[in-house]
Symmetry: C3
């Protein structure tokens, strides 16, 4: 277990800022702990309540934009896990489902999702290692370009 883990400091070392916790848009919770698993609701590229990175990859957004959008989704996940449980108390990230919207000929999905994957590993080391699935969808809430859903294992 890591003591005195400061998410804000770790993000600052990477030149990144910690947003305020996003609010649920319906009758659900963002972090749901059952047994030794924490289930996290879909997170979008919001910063405080500002909705960023809307649109379609390959048309409205570049792959580099998408990388930053995925990074911001991951930051929101970490902010919520830290607030609800404490990053000291998580054994590790399990799996990430990553969704994006793109033009028919845009083919950079793995690079895109590394925006989230790199951040999890950079912040948490081995505890940030995960499996993942990526697929392109038709719609995401509020016209966002990307989103991620993930689960975590908590120390017993």
């Amino acid at each position: 277990m890591i003591n005195q883990f400061s998410l804000e400091e770790r993000l600052e070392k990477l030149g990144l800022r910690l947003p305020a916790l996003s609010k649920p848009a319906g009758n659900y919770v963002v972090v749901n702990v059952r047994g030794n698993i924490a289930y996290v609701a879909i997170q979008f590229p919001k910063f405080n309540e500002e909705m960023l990175y809307k649109g379609v990859l390959g048309k409205d957004l570049t792959t580099e934009d998408g990388y930053k959008a995925m990074q911001l989704c991951a930051i929101n996940v970490l902010a919520h896990i830290d607030a609800a449980i404490g990053l000291d108390k998580v054994a590790g990230l399990n799996h990430v489902d990553a969704y994006y919207r793109a033009t028919a000929d845009w083919m950079e999905a793995p690079k895109l999702v590394d925006g989230a994957s790199d951040l999890f590993v950079n912040i948490l080391g081995e505890r940030g290692v995960h499996s993942r699935a990526i697929f392109g969808v038709d719609h995401l809430s509020r016209n966002f370009s990307v989103g991620i859903t993930c689960t975590w294992t908590i120390y017993a």
Copy 2:
């Protein structure tokens, strides 16, 4: 643990009816218990074997229709969990993945999925609380407008 939990009575109090258990459409089971988790196959807005709420939100169906469609998906989940395990024996709902088909400009996904979320919470209270992901897809089996997949934690 709640004793003598009657799903049918609880649904009736909300003016809702309990359908017959839907049948798998392939080589899988609807409820698969491994360890202390129950995994539930995708459920659609069927009532008995009648396929309801087909089509596309924003064209063939209103948001209110979609809310009821999501509610019916959730009722099918509860029917299966109750038959396979007993709702007395579940510690709680973990996470819901919700899928829908919609026109490009339809933007009511959170209201839609509250059809399922509200039902889970209304029937089960704290045990019905969950995280969720929502995304719009290209196709769903039999032209359904919506579907949900979820997992549950069972008392050890």
Copy 3:
């Protein structure tokens, strides 16, 4: 527990071959074990590093092609689980998320996904039984027609 389980021999009895392990296309692992669950990254119809079954069902590929494509996804899952953990050590398959790309009027998704479901059950018996979700998506990496993601429970 099954002793001396040979995946290669079991596949050969079904007339199938074991591919080399596919490599991750980004900063993730294919099999991530946390607690008593193994999370498997999305698998595609690759054989060794050859990308097979690209395109869209109902246009570029028949349902029979898709069945074989799903079967090949499942073989890749089994190859990875066997290499990372050993199929002797898994209590069973939990759930499969299956994705496909298809024309608007193609309606054979359950038959398609039985390509994966049948293989899991034929190779592992009761331990291969699972729940599943199926939905049609807009994009899959490298223009693949299908993909699957799944989780497994491991003996404690």
